[in-house]
Symmetry: C2
Subunit: 301 residues, 2 copies
């Protein structure tokens, strides 16, 4: 397949490939989630199980138009709704989970529950964002802006593996991965830079399959060839990165917020690690972003 | 004075206020520095002492046009040139220092030298950037993207004081300061957030004079009122921040690089702490950015 360079191409691809998944949405009663669910129904790539207070859902116009593709499970208590949706995923009855207006912590608690949850033992929970930015020639993927504040080397390796799995589903056969830092120097004073060196070595030994991994380097070197040339940094990743791995949550979150606010980016995001991809939007995400996230989750599932 | 909202207004202000300073430039032989120096001469807010290899400077067309406003000190060795320029600052013969193509570390060594340098004992060296971003209604100032990787509480307080001094010179009487983190929660697991709480308390006790300080908050909350409202965060800083203080160099650097590459920002930057402001551009900075930095340094000196 051709690499998907933006969210429009993602939606077209789902249609052409005939991908269609079942999604459980927990407590969907905000206009942004309604927009995302309705548009996904129209595009045809998702059917839904709406778990939550039925009276609040009654306002959805899509409920009548797509009645045969929406199942409603009426549960008033949001914690109970979360547990029910997670159980559906555990039993293989849904392929994707999505958070409505329940608190993130409450849904995560149900996902992480050792007995009734859906995170296999020893598995990392990590967040992957995809962004469509007017000033870049393709999608930029990046981790982790939400879940793991300060990944260990082992966690970072697992994070990159999950991320590459999704990035490859976007048709990118040989993803280019930039390990982000504030300078290109490896320095024991900055342990992340030392971990990066190890990861680059692991990549050259084939640990991550068909992928190019470079770093440490800064955001501009990763995404702008001119900046890399000025600094005399030679890496096939420079100026053409698909995936950025951030050193900590402060820098990842700053990238996310700056890109959406000042770079006019559209974004999508999913949690990987659990048995099914989870769409976990933040409170200030737009309806379009929630819709893009659904499409990304369906592709990844 | 009216607040200066962009770099054009800064240049006009320097002209109207008749500000004119003497600047020593160390090893100026790149086209970007030439552009900055020539334009500053034309605008009339700076005279220059060029310290470096005279043969390399001979190409500057401005050398003949503005011969009476440029003094040349012919020193071939770059370390010696750095020491000479620093001595000029120490003796009060110049008001600003600027780096040409010498390595940052070499110029810093001369500045930091305990006997012959210009950093008073017990004084912090910190970097302040100003950015003009199409998607924001005024200049955004931020620290520290270059010098202090992980500021202590004491260092951060001093950093904010320096920054406020410069921000106020831009005509902003009551600067709004956002202490940046990835969430608005104060949590002992994230020591910066605890320091931020202390700083907000110090601000309410008048430690920073006429300024509004809020945080922890993320970049979007600081610069976009809608995002703050969605999160029910109430602070006079939200959506209208003048100055962003970043938790660490990874996040500060990420903001700088993302803002310039994807947000199409024009930037200026100076070092504060030494006896005179220092313009210390990075290798990939444009001529315009170096020129803006000169103007910012002249205003701050």
């Amino acid at each position: 397949m051709q690499p998907l360079r933006n969210f429009k191409e993602l939606a077209s691809h789902l249609k052409e490939a005939g991908l269609r998944k079942k999604i459980a949405v927990v407590c969907a009663d905000d206009p942004e989630t309604e927009y995302a669910v309705t548009r996904a129904l129209k595009e045809g790539f998702a059917d839904f199980v709406m778990v939550g207070d039925k009276d609040r859902l009654a306002q959805y116009p899509a409920l009548s138009e797509f009645a045969d593709r929406i199942e409603i499970v009426d549960i008033k208590d949001s914690d109970e709704a979360a547990r029910h949706a997670v159980a559906l995923a555990r039993e293989g009855k849904v392929d994707v989970l999505m958070k409505g207006i329940i608190n993130t912590d409450n849904l995560l608690r149900a996902i992480l529950n050792k007995e009734t949850g859906i995170l296999p033992k020893g598995t990392l929970l990590t967040h992957l964002t995809a962004a469509e930015v007017p000033a870049y020639h393709k999608l930029i993927f990046f981790s982790d802006v939400a879940v793991i504040p300060y990944p260990t080397l082992e966690q970072r390796v697992q994070m990159i593996e999950y991320d590459l799995d999704t990035v490859r589903k976007f048709g990118i056969e040989q993803p280019k991965v930039a390990l982000i830092h504030f300078t290109e120097k490896v320095n024991p004073k900055f342990p992340n830079s030392v971990d990066y060196k190890t990861i680059v070595e692991m990549a050259s030994e084939g640990r991550f399959g068909n992928a190019l991994i470079g770093g440490p380097m800064d955001v501009k070197t990763a995404c702008d060839l001119h900046s890399a040339k000025v600094k005399h940094i030679e890496s096939a990743v420079c100026g053409d990165a698909d995936l950025l791995i951030f050193p900590n949550i402060e820098s990842g979150n700053t990238f996310y917020k700056t890109l959406t606010l000042f770079g006019k980016a559209e974004v999508a995001g999913i949690l990987r690690g659990p048995k099914v991809p989870v769409v976990l939007p933040s409170r200030s995400d737009s309806g379009l972003s929630k819709y893009n996230s659904l499409a990304m989750a369906v592709l990844s599932a």
